[in-house]
Subunit: 123 residues, 2 copies
DNA sequence: TCATATTTTGACAACCGTTTTCGTTTTCGT
DNA sequence: ACGAAAACGAAAACGGTTGTCAAAATATGA
């Protein structure tokens, strides 16, 4: 883990919501870091490959990242206004997805589930 | 509904899976149509705005479209190999998402759910 | 320590899907 | 048939992301 990658991880950990690569780049530069945008992308790629951060796509196709508390399988409920996110578990959903796969003859079933809403603070 | 838009809808209806704008453009040109790529994008935008087609983002951020049988809320199980998709309903999931929202004080809760796997034909 | 091999970095250009622009063509109501 | 309004397509612009490559940092080992 290089110093720059650690800096990116740290910057991401400071937020409870999902952030884009460019957001993080702006944050780091604002703090005085001389990091390059390319390096931020590379760090996020590595962190997501290793499962340390979660990635998802916004409606307009931008990748956003989050340093979650757990590395085990989970989902999120994300605020549409402030982008803060809460980690949630859904045994119900896990089972449902598996059942659906089996029912339709699909193997190697995975799923993506995200919940959106407006959080209490933003209401 | 203009003729070009109708052509895009028709082209999309010919497939059971999700297709990208560029895929459809290639299909239509291959059939001899003189349609432009811009028009394909515009038609898909209109169709998705009106709820006639579903849109989702692939892992690499590309938008893909599908002409579903029903316009009411539903989800899909998508084959990772041939991209064919089956429409599925999940009362269980609907309830779970709503409960999660309420539990964490979120309002106006929506959700995205997609299931992926390898279909029977591709196994 | 010093020299050398390896990895990481960042400026910049390239890439690719998508949107905007704008002049032309088609459609539609009268 | 006429003019207004909408749709169209080619090309340029856009924005996020990835590739390139030379310089800088770091690790290795004599
Ligand atoms: Zn997470
Ligand atoms: Zn799950
Ligand atoms: Zn559908
Ligand atoms: Zn649902």
């Amino acid at each position: 883990m290089s110093a720059r990658r650690e800096a990116v991880r740290q910057a991401l950990s400071g937020y409870s919501g999902f952030r884009s690569a460019q957001d993080l780049y702006t944050d780091l530069r604002a703090e005085g870091s001389k990091i390059g945008l390319t390096t931020v992308y590379r760090a996020l790629q590595a962190l997501s490959d290793s499962g340390e951060v979660d990635v998802l796509r916004t409606d307009d196709g931008e990748a956003v990242y989050r340093a979650c508390d757990t590395e085990s399988h989970h989902h999120h409920i994300v605020c549409r206004v402030c982008a803060t996110a809460v980690e949630i578990e859904g045994p119900t959903v896990e089972k449902w997805a598996a059942e659906m796969g089996a029912k339709h003859g699909f193997s190697g079933v995975t799923h993506t589930v995200e919940v959106f809403g407006t959080c209490a603070d933003c209401s």
